[in-house]
């Protein structure tokens, strides 16, 4: 017997004037942010288009950044490969350090911290997130770097046989490692904040079920809370990663910008797209400015992709928990 599915019903909803007005306001609000985003991208593309056209793929693969001579005797050459690699390396170090600490801190705040400590600690954490990055940069340069230099020497001493921990010359200051540690400290509050929010929503009945079956507190964390918050944590980490990739001043102060692709994280050479822009913007000529705009567009797209991945993961997490 053939089964014929009925046609889809069309339901017309007649909305009241207040509903229509509210819908208009929220639609306009969301459209404004999209329009601003599109305008930024269009502006960067417009200003950087000439450089993309002149250098093509070389702009992404070349390690040379030379504005050339004003009289035209030396042709300009622009490539962001070391800065792209540097951005990814520094952000990866930051995330690798920040996420485990964020998980531990969030679990402590949600489940272990005494009630009287919970609120002040949360407030302090939120406050730390609001400290301007230039302050972090100065602190990183003056206080963190002398200490982190010693940590880098220790890592190099014990793990120097691993290629990424080798250094061509024994100078351990202003390295991607130090920039990564500083960025980890900077993004720790935001990742912790997201993790705390997600963990605090872990279903209490599931936690009770774990206890009711002889589970320890750690067993309940491992079986209920961590899996429940896994995707939310990834979303938080991606937000942190977005900030780490785009961080300018702090990285500029503690990282030695060198136009050479470098994966050796303890060596005093590295870079990031954001700090390249910060360092060159003031003295750039018109054509170099275009190159910096093009670099800005690359960073903009990378950040957008990271945020897009983050929201997809968070959305998927929401669906899987339903």
């Amino acid at each position: 017997m053939e089964i014929i599915a009925p046609d889809k019903r069309k339901i017309a909803v007649r909305r009241g004037i207040v509903d229509k007005a509210f819908r208009g306001v929220v639609t306009a609000g969301s459209m404004i942010s999209l329009i601003v985003l599109a305008l930024i991208a269009a502006f960067l593309l417009y200003r950087g288009f000439e450089v993309f056209r002149d250098f093509g793929l070389k702009f992404f693969t070349s390690s040379k950044w030379d504005a050339g001579a004003d009289d035209g005797s030396i042709a300009p050459s622009f490539g962001v490969a070391p800065m792209l690699v540097g951005s990814v390396v520094v952000a990866t170090i930051a995330i690798s350090i920040a996420v485990p600490f964020a998980v531990v801190m969030a679990l402590f705040l949600c489940f272990y911290a005494p009630r009287f400590l919970r609120r002040p600690m949360t407030s302090v954490l939120d406050l730390v997130a609001a400290v301007p990055s230039v302050i972090y940069g100065i602190w990183g340069y003056a206080i963190l770097m002398p200490h982190a230099k010693g940590w880098a020497e220790t890592i190099n001493h014990w793990l120097g046989w691993i290629w990424i921990f080798k250094v061509p010359v024994p100078i351990f200051e202003r390295s991607p490692f130090i920039a990564g540690v500083l960025l980890a400290i900077m993004i720790l509050p935001i990742v912790t904040s997201v993790a705390r929010e997600v963990y605090s929503q872990a279903p209490q009945d599931q936690i009770d079920a774990a206890y009711g079956l002889g589970g320890t507190r750690w067993g309940a964390m491992r079986t209920v809370v961590l899996p429940f918050g896994k995707s939310g944590l990834v979303g938080g980490a991606m937000l942190g990663l977005g900030r780490a990739l785009g961080e300018t001043v702090a990285v500029y102060l503690v990282l030695n910008l060198v136009f050479k692709v470098n994966f050796q994280i303890l060596a005093s050479a590295g870079g990031s797209v954001a700090s390249l822009i910060a360092s060159r913007f003031g003295e750039a000529g018109p054509y170099e400015l275009k190159a910096l705009m093009a670099a800005g567009l690359v960073l903009f797209i990378i950040t957008l992709i990271v945020n897009f991945i983050a929201s997809s993961i968070v959305n998927r997490a929401g669906k899987s928990q339903r």
Binding site: Q206, D208, A210, Y211, G212, L213, G214, G215, T223, V224
Partner: protein, 209 residues
């Protein structure tokens, strides 16, 4: 072994004085109207809610005596609970759910797996051992929840309407299985139920709330 609960159980704004006693190898039925505090009694004995006053003493050990500030944490009580709303861990499959308590107690993975599969077989749930709770029917979930509690060989088995969703044949099987396990392990079983045939079939004592 014996269990003696004399005191006020509470959850949120709800409070009620209860007296429950049970000896080892016994199935005690807890009956009462909706909202009479049956589930709260189960939660209190499991250590998921604290007594407001009175005492809960199991085998001469004070599990919860507010006046003396005595409290035994849930994981140290050795209870196995089947919750009214089942509460299987959604991201774990059936056998992993059953293994949870054993693994938390430090049992090695292979031993835990073996015991979990045996227990799933006992409740006729081995066929869907690798399926996640979302893909199981209500009755199948209840079987897994029962296996998850039984696998621990608990000293105190707490069952909150454990057979409400299982089919008639399985229901009859469980009514034979449960007293046998309780007898063999010398455990105490407290079962919340609305089904009078369950009470007359397996309960040696009835507590009315």
């Amino acid at each position: 072994m014996s269990l003696e609960l004399h005191g006020t159980v509470h959850r949120g704004d709800f409070q009620r004085h209860v007296d429950v006693t049970a000896d080892n190898g016994e199935v005690v039925a807890i009956v009462g109207a909706n909202g009479s505090g049956k589930s709260t009694v189960i939660h209190t004995i499991a250590g998921l809610a604290a007594l407001a006053d009175g005492s809960l003493i199991v085998n001469d050990t004070p599990w919860d005596v507010p006046a003396n500030n005595q409290w035994v944490s849930p994981e140290q009580r050795g209870c196995g609970v089947v919750f009214q709303d089942v509460r299987l861990f959604p991201h774990l499959n059936a056998v992993q759910n059953v293994m949870f308590g054993l693994r938390s107690g430090g049992v090695k993975r292979n031993d835990a797996l073996e015991r979990a599969m045996e227990t799933l077989s006992e409740v006729d749930a081995h066929a869907f051992a690798l399926r996640t709770p979302a893909s199981l029917s209500g009755g199948e979930r209840q079987r897994v929840a029962l296996a998850r509690a039984l696998v621990m060989k608990p000293r105190v088995l707490l069952l909150d309407e454990p057979f409400s969703a299982v089919d008639e044949r399985s229901h009859a099987d469980f009514l034979q299985l449960l007293p046998r396990i309780v007898r063999e392990t010398g455990a105490i079983a407290l079962m919340v139920t609305h089904d009078h045939s369950d009470v007359s079939a397996i309960a040696s004592r009835v507590v009315g709330l």
